[in-house]
């Protein structure tokens, strides 16, 4: 359970930082009148939707941290046999990076008000994300054809489970991306469009980060890394 505890420690760090700005040591009964002095600390200047997405991503991060924790706990049992990762995953990783880059471009274009560039970025991101999903499915096919079935080994089970869960999150993101793209064509208000594109980009970068982390986990590098950490500690 160490992975999730480290993750929660990071969350606790954020929470602690935020709480430290809330005058928890103040004496509210002495402070009558309009609290303008404190209002500066009060509400975040970020758009509400971004904060909402941030909280949601913390939950998603929690989910994947828990899968990772379970992975590490289960892999200590002797029946664990790591499966060879298909080469295709490298290609998929590249495609997903491309998708993230495209959305970043769209986000920059939205800030500059270049609607055409925004449209191009959104479409590229959508298509590459779809390509990533198809690539993942092909990797699954390849593995099952080679006899690495879901239930034949826990390493396989975790591979399908975690990649599947990540794919579902991409799929959910595509719904949001689709709506944003529709908005870009149907003439949504510029500030509205900009916010939507930025939200998509945020989500995409996060899922890219998650993908890189689970890729490292499934390839076995994460285990080596944890091993080194443990050796350094002991």
């Amino acid at each position: 359970m160490s992975v999730i505890l480290v993750f929660l420690l990071v969350i606790a760090g954020f929470a602690g930082w935020w709480l430290s700005h809330q005058r928890l040591m103040g004496k509210p009964w002495l402070e009558q009148g309009l609290a303008s002095d404190f209002v500066a600390f009060d509400r975040s200047a970020l758009p509400t939707a971004k904060i909402g997405l941030g909280v949601f991503l913390a939950v998603v991060g929690c989910l994947f941290a828990l899968f990772t924790s379970a992975y590490f706990m289960r892999m200590t049992v002797s029946d664990w046999q790591p499966l060879p990762l298909p080469r295709l995953l490298w290609f998929n990783t590249g495609v997903l990076i491309l998708s993230s880059v495209a959305l970043q471009c769209a986000s920059v274009a939205a800030r500059r008000g270049q609607v055409d560039m925004v449209r191009l970025g959104l479409v590229t991101a959508g298509l590459t994300a779809l390509a990533f999903l198809i690539g993942q499915l092909m990797a699954w096919r390849q593995l099952t054809d080679d006899g690495y079935l879901l239930s034949s080994n826990p390493a396989n089970s975790f591979f399908y489970l975690i990649t599947g869960m990540h794919g579902l999150h991409i799929l959910g993101g595509l719904v949001g991306l689709g709506r944003t793209t529709a908005g870009a064509w149907n003439g949504a208000r510029p500030e509205r469009l900009r916010l939507s594109v930025e939200l998509c980009a945020m989500y995409w970068h996060f899922l890219l980060f998650v993908w890189l982390a689970i890729f490292a986990l499934l390839a076995g590098w994460a285990a080596t890394f944890v091993d080194i950490c443990q050796r350094l500690l002991t």
Partner: protein
């Protein structure tokens, strides 16, 4: 006296870029509504409905335990199905949904001075997914083989094997699917509660001016958002084990002489994941209750809550600590015994902030002006039962004392007292307190007092003696207590007594339900602020609050939520949105 005057650069009270939703038809106003108040009522009604099912199930279990052998239709199979559904419904589908989905939705926007939740559409989805989860759960009763009988902890391997009712049928699949749906739905709602508190507060409403109710619900929601994924992960993995034959939790098993295809899985891994959710869950239920009861006591004792800052720190501290105590549910699970030292220590440390909260509640009563209204009665009863249940927690948290007591009726008595009876008493107190705001009418006083006395004394008489059955060694989750050398004749009599009390207490809830429905039309007119309370929900221009809560302009907050009996002020309460300074100079303590 720190008197602060308005200055430039004050952000607007309204939440930017969130447009208030307007219903266009009857359907979107009352059914597919995005108004948090309507969603709150939908959540509460659904939770109450499913809670009644769980109440009936508890009666059936008590029939079997109190009068063994009398009721043929309660087979061991049925008994385990009842016990499982009762536990799961009460903990998750009733208490969690009611405190966060019900009270959270109604009170957060009103108390922080917002027009609505920040993401109303997602909020609406949250309710409908919750309803779907409840329907999937209930469908277990009609599925072939019936619902699962694995106990609410759903421990594998037995949860998905044929020796357990519903293990190889649909029961367990429906249960896990329902949990997954609930978590998805809850996450949607939870985002709203958290972000509304972060971003939706009106001008002047700093975090330290929030009523403790909001602090409690806010912290509980943050915890729930981080804890529920653990249950999600455990459910998905068990679903794969059950449906597709993976071996996440399933080791090599020889079941009734037959070798199963699973291999190498770890049942302990499930327990870690389950309790990583399960322990915070206790506080997810308790923290809103803590917050609400603080406000009830303060309002009805006409005195500010004693030690507000300490109360806030205690809520946050309990919330954080509750993530590092989960394995105290696993002292006798066969995990590495050295974990016991760590988890016993963290568990007993968490008793300190909890005790501080109790002290501050009773110190609020000290030199107060105690109005013994029904909400106040329930608050007092909460303190009694919570202190009782909290103290027996010190038995079970202390690792070696837990060894003889775990898995006995002592545990059953403990958690019913501390997270069953105590929070439910707060729910009742809160309903008597806020019903006038929701409907505009008071609940009937006579029926209310009857309901209070029967529920409080009855519940205490059910669960206090039950501890002693556990001390004798009577195990929990026994469908029949026959053929046991430790069960004396008098212990059987005690069981019958407990069962009879359970029926009486259950009956009192029917009186309460009647009161709820009857008073909508026939209750005394309440007016806008019948309890003369300070917080913003009592200052709305309309009662019940209209769409958008606060009329044309949002209220501006000038003071904390607890200005009761301020020296020098004319009234014994000053609403949060009343400008001006009152009282003699309050020098720093």
């Amino acid at each position: 006296m720190v008197d602060i005057t308005p200055a430039d650069g004050i952000p607007p009270a309204e939440v930017a870029e969130v447009e208030l939703y307007h219903p266009r038809s009857w359907w979107t106003k009352y059914v597919f509504s995005q108004d948090a108040k309507v969603i709150a009522i939908q959540y509460s009604a659904t939770a109450t409905g499913i809670g009644l099912v769980a109440l009936v199930l508890s009666w059936l279990m008590r029939l079997q335990l109190g009068f063994p052998g009398t009721f043929d239709f309660i087979t061991p199979e049925a008994y385990y199905q009842f016990i499982t559904m009762h536990g799961m419904i009460m903990v998750i589908y009733l208490l969690t949904a009611l405190f966060l989905g019900g009270f959270g939705n109604y009170l957060i926007p009103l108390m922080v001075g917002a027009r609505d939740m920040v993401f109303p559409y997602v909020n609406m989805l949250s309710y409908w997914i919750y309803l779907l989860a409840v329907l999937v759960l209930v469908s277990g009763f009609f599925a072939p083989g019936g619902p699962t009988g694995a106990g609410w902890t759903l421990y594998p391997p037995q949860a998905i094997l044929s020796g357990t009712p519903g293990g190889q049928g649909w029961g367990i699949i429906l249960m896990l699917s329902s949990l997954i749906l609930f978590i998805i739905g809850f996450t949607m709602g939870g985002l709203n509660y958290v972000v509304t508190v972060l971003q939706g507060r009106t001008r002047g409403m700093t975090m330290m001016r929030l009523p403790l109710t909001v602090w409690g619900i806010f912290t509980a929601t943050v915890m729930a958002l981080l804890a529920f994924p653990a249950l999600f992960v455990a459910s998905v993995m068990m679903l794969l084990d059950r449906a597709l034959g993976t071996s996440f939790f399933m080791p090599a098993i020889s079941e009734m002489g037959e070798q199963l295809p699973h291999n190498g899985g770890s049942p302990i891994l499930f327990q870690h994941l389950f309790w990583f959710f399960g322990h915070p869950e206790v506080y997810i239920v308790a923290l809103p209750a803590f917050g609400i009861v603080s406000d009830l006591i303060s309002t009805h004792a006409r005195k500010n809550i004693f030690g507000y800052r300490m109360m806030v720190w205690a809520i946050v501290g309990i919330g954080a600590l509750s993530f590092v105590v989960w394995a105290h549910h696993m002292y006798v699970s066969g995990m590495h015994p050295y974990f016991g030292f760590f988890f016993a220590t963290t568990t007993l440390i968490i008793a300190i902030p909890t005790a501080i909260k109790v002290y501050n509640w009773v110190l609020t009563l000290w030199r107060g002006d105690i109005h013994l209204t029904i909400p106040m009665l329930f608050a007092l009863a909460f303190i009694v039962t919570f202190v009782n249940g909290g103290l027996t927690g010190l038995f079970l948290g202390n690792v070696v004392v837990d060894v003889p007591l775990s898995d006995t009726m002592f545990v059953v008595a403990h958690f019913h007292m501390v997270m069953g009876v105590a929070p439910i008493l707060v729910v009742f107190g809160a309903i008597y307190h806020w019903y006038p705001k929701v409907t505009g009418r008071m609940l009937n006083e006579m029926l209310g007092r009857f309901h209070f006395w029967v529920t409080f004394l009855g519940a205490y008489l059910i669960f206090f003696p039950m501890h002693y059955l556990g001390l004798m060694g009577v195990p929990r989750r026994y469908a029949e207590l026959t053929d046991m050398t430790i069960m004396t004749e008098s212990a059987h009599h005690l069981n019958s007594f407990i069962s009879i009390m359970a029926f009486i207490v259950g009956f009192a809830q029917m009186v309460f339900l009647f009161n709820l429905i009857w008073s909508i039309r026939h209750g005394r007119e309440a007016g806008g602020n019948p309890w003369r309370a300070t917080t913003l929900e009592w200052q709305t221009p309309h009662t019940p609050p209209a769409h958008g809560n606060f009329g044309k302009d949002l209220p501006i907050v000038y003071r904390w939520a607890y200005d009761y009996s301020v020296p020098g002020a004319k009234e014994d309460f000053i609403p949060q949105n009343m400008p001006g300074s009152f009282g003699p100079s309050r020098e720093p303590a």
